[in-house]
């Protein structure tokens, strides 16, 4: 009976410890396996692989050795059954490509804000006309970066398997020629654990 009392105290204290709210910072690049769904590790590994592939592809190396082509990033179609923020993936890819010094980008997500600012500079009467950014001087993109993301999910009573495929393509806007395409595949397996 005495042993039972001691054990009750130990279990109660363990429960109390488990209830305390502990917050800590982690490594943003560490491997995350909380659930089978698309996660930060998948996003980071897709971006790293595709950027490596693109900037090391011989015709691209040759083209970017003398100039920095201007690229526009289109949407990546999410064909998986999950909600995935594909813009976040293309944002990471765009940032890495820009920082490599090999490409430049036109940001189509900021067109409206840019237009408003230029309208303000032209029409408000508050900006020195000599220093106002002029219309019709922007550079057009030479290439378009776009892609697809798909998945195959299989499961049985005690296991689940998820396969992701991310495809990215670089097309010359004028000629329509696809200059480069890259793929990243990810496989994740999970088993139900009863322990």
């Amino acid at each position: 009976m005495k042993l039972l009392k001691i054990l009750t105290v130990i279990v109660a204290s363990l429960v109390l410890v488990a209830c305390s709210n502990k917050i800590s910072y982690g490594d943003a690049t560490s491997v995350e396996t909380t659930t089978m769904g698309f996660g930060s590790t998948d996003l980071q590994s897709i971006a790293a692989k595709l950027v490596d592939d693109l900037i090391a592809f011989p015709p691209i190396v040759q083209m970017t050795s003398a100039r920095r082509p201007v690229v526009f990033v289109d949407k990546v179609k999410n064909k998986t059954t999950e909600h995935i923020d594909t813009e976040s993936i293309t944002d990471t890819i765009q940032t890495k490509l820009l920082q490599s010094g090999k490409f430049r980008f036109v940001d189509m997500t900021a067109v409206k804000a840019v237009q408003e600012q230029m309208q303000f500079q032209m029409d408000s009467g508050m900006v020195d006309p000599g220093k106002a950014a002029a219309f019709g001087k922007q550079t057009g993109a030479e290439f378009m970066l776009y892609g697809n993301m798909s998945s195959i999910v299989k499961r049985n009573s005690d296991a689940k398997d998820v396969y992701y495929k991310f495809t990215l393509k670089l097309v010359n806007l004028e000629s329509g020629i696809m200059e480069w395409a890259g793929e990243k595949e990810i496989r994740k397996s999970g088993e139900k654990s009863f322990f």
Binding site: V31, Q44, S45, D52, I55, A56
Partner: protein, 138 residues
């Protein structure tokens, strides 16, 4: 009053819980690194003692260039007869030893079969990189 089977209901699950907590506490975090200088290609291998460094070996390193970007390849060999699940990460350094694009590359999970050699590759984030490190941990 029904008598509780003390050993069956209380002690066994408690022992099991303590054992699993002990196992969690034992999870090691080892790091091995190789530094290859762009011009001299010297290797410095640092390993901590433990399961990973006893079984995994960096058997070869190779460097090249994609345009003006440093390209690295590392061959990792599993010397054991077990499947090893580990993760690796590349770090890039400029000529003064400063790390470039801190946290730019993620820890990448990898599975290696018994006695298998696998090569991993990476391209430097920009032309200022002239040496790299590869870190491995389980």
């Amino acid at each position: 009053m029904k008598k509780i089977d003390f050993q069956q209901i209380v002690l066994k699950p408690l022992a099991l819980a303590c054992l699993s907590m002990g196992l969690l506490a034992c999870a090691v975090n080892e790091t091995a690194s190789v530094t290859v200088d762009g011009s001299q290609a010297t290797q410095i291998i640092e390993t901590n003692s433990g399961v990973l460094s006893d079984n995994l070996r960096i058997s070869d390193t190779n460097i090249g260039y994609a345009g003006n970007l440093l390209k690295a390849q590392v061959t990792i060999t599993n010397d054991s007869d077990e499947h090893l699940d580990f993760r690796y990460k590349f770090k890039w350094l400029d000529k003064d030893g400063f790390e470039i694009a801190v946290d730019g590359r993620p820890w990448t999970p990898m599975l290696i079969t018994p006695f298998e050699s696998k090569s991993v590759q990476a391209v430097a984030p920009n032309p200022t990189a002239n040496s790299f490190k590869i870190l491995m941990q389980n």
